[in-house]
Symmetry: C2
Subunit: 343 residues, 2 copies
């Protein structure tokens, strides 16, 4: 029996949600969650370290369980759902992608910073060569103007991506910004367009509905908001909102509600609220990895870490430029001193 679906949901609680629990998933938990998602007829389930294949490390946080075992577990209980993985070139390699493919995954999502699509070429090509569905995943999409986003998405499409996602990693996009981005991609690409939201400004659901309205057909959600920062678009709520709007997800609403309450909620170690840290990241539009650096610099220069993060956001500083954080803090202090002496 084929399910009629207007959008295809990818559930990311077993990947993005891994951030929320310090990458501590067990095989038993993944079996239980994936089985329930499969039973609720969720089309895709992503399973990987929070930072993608091979993310388990001192820098990104060590996984409790080898992710290949978790992927294998998810594949083993999925009859309806297809299993996906995330890969960030530079963290994961072709080796892990091949290994995951051998375990029976159906889709690989190749993620790069929004301006660095070119590093995804080989991985997208390999994904296709392995007979998998290929997704290009443009992260921190708020940091590039629309024209740049289109250019980068076209690159991913040219490498063979079946879908290109607008990824609001910091939860920093406003609905009108999502609208113009999805519209531009739909107008310039032949392939599917997707959207992945974060809830740092409490707009994940709104942004997702706007994306769907503009023609995005691949949509990410996380059960019980289980994701980095303030979490993602809450999947079971998305399914309910879509039903209210007449958008067919093909997902069983009651089963989603039940698995969220009975299987996923007990896994959460802390609630997925919008706390001060996640709000600041969304407001400033910066990487979560900047937070600790900013807090250290703030202490050293006796200023508010938020001022540093907001300035970093304005300057569109990207991952790898962490050494700029101290410079920015020093500049803010000298600017403040100048202002004080001028008064």
């Amino acid at each position: 029996m084929t399910t009629k679906r207007d959008i295809l949901i990818t559930e990311v609680a077993l990947r993005d949600g891994s951030h929320a629990i310090g990458h501590q998933y067990t095989v038993e938990q993944v079996l239980a969650v994936a089985k329930a998602l499969d039973d609720a007829n969720v089309p895709y389930i992503e399973v990987s370290h929070g930072d993608g294949l091979a993310g388990s490390s001192l820098q990104y946080g060590r996984s409790k369980t080898d992710e290949m075992k978790l992927i294998e577990a998810a594949v083993s209980v999925s009859n309806n759902s297809k299993i996906a993985v995330l890969l960030l070139p530079g963290i994961g390699t072709m080796t892990e992608l091949r290994e995951a493919a051998n375990l029976g995954i159906h889709m690989a999502r190749i993620a790069t910073h929004v301006t660095e699509a070119d590093v995804s070429a080989q991985h997208i090509q390999l994904t296709k060569d392995l007979g998998l569905e290929a997704v290009g995943f443009l992260m921190m999409a708020h940091m590039a103007p629309v024209e740049k986003l289109v250019e980068q998405a076209k690159l991913m499409e040219s490498y063979g991506a079946d879908t290109v996602y607008v990824v609001d990693s910091a939860g920093a996009l406003m609905p009108h910004e999502v609208k113009e981005r999805i519209r531009a991609l739909r107008g310039n690409l032949q392939c599917n367009v997707g959207f992945h939201g974060h809830n740092n400004l409490s707009l994940a659901m709104a942004n997702t509905l706007v994306a769907i309205e503009e023609g995005a057909t691949r949509i990410d959600g996380s059960v019980r908001c289980l994701g980095a920062g303030a979490g993602n678009t809450q999947t079971e709520v998305l399914v309910a909102a879509c039903e209210r709007l007449g958008i067919q997800t093909g997902v069983d609403l009651y089963k989603m509600m039940d698995l969220a309450e009975e299987i996923v909620a007990p896994i959460l170690q802390r609630p997925q609220e919008i706390d001060r840290d996640s709000l600041v990241l969304g407001y400033a539009g910066v990487y979560s990895s900047f937070r600790l650096h900013a807090q250290r610099a703030a202490k050293k220069f006796n200023i508010d870490a938020r001022d540093i993060l907001i300035e970093l956001g304005k300057r569109k500083v990207v991952g790898g430029q962490e050494d700029m954080i101290v410079d920015v803090a020093a500049e803010l202090v000298s600017k403040r001193n100048l202002q004080t002496s001028a008064q």
Copy 2:
């Protein structure tokens, strides 16, 4: 110094938020929260039992502290903020309204079901006679068509309301429904228009921004989502989103973030997540008081309580009609039996 503000925020954590903590506020807590809100320059702070003045009862939940003492405490520490109260005619009376007025409040919000504005006439008039600002608060606004809402809002305006609110009590409105409601009120009223959202479908922030876009200037929020159901529009996040959009709230963002994290979060007994219960209420669009009745009827008839709640929502059953719940359950069972025997 006058603050320039495009919208005037009313913080409801000390009223709607009372639901979230079983009406257990202490004088010390209210002093701490109100003082911090005042310091952050929040224009209005509402303080009352969750169900408004005189709500403390077996039926609605007993307050730990006499609400007049809480109102007095909030007034005592407010230099910038004005203190407001909520009153539902039938629960609260003129006596409590006069008592609160004597304590130094500035605003009373008179709340009725969206189709029962006529019961607010005397209370709105008394509010004006007492020299207070008067707000008409049309609850469960999703249950009336736009024309009916306009008619009811006009009644409140005719009684003397300075502002009429669209109140999405069940968190059931979608953004396009908020848009048409606020637009219709703005087109038909001379007085201010306000919006009060709930987050049951994860759309409180989106609905609030749409309301502002359509000209609502009085906006409710609750710090850390502290409100009934899934909570309200999260105030500190709203202030951040407004700053991003160039909408002046006049509220200090950093101070709001700090008080949310340091003063309000520790008061919460359970996180304000969108759990199964709150999601069902938003999806069905029914009163939270129906939930227990539906669960009892579901058990008796061996059906899913959600089916009952959704049917109640379709029939637009209102508070006071709880006896219909068993009838609806019985009808659902006989319909199911008919379907089964026809197969």
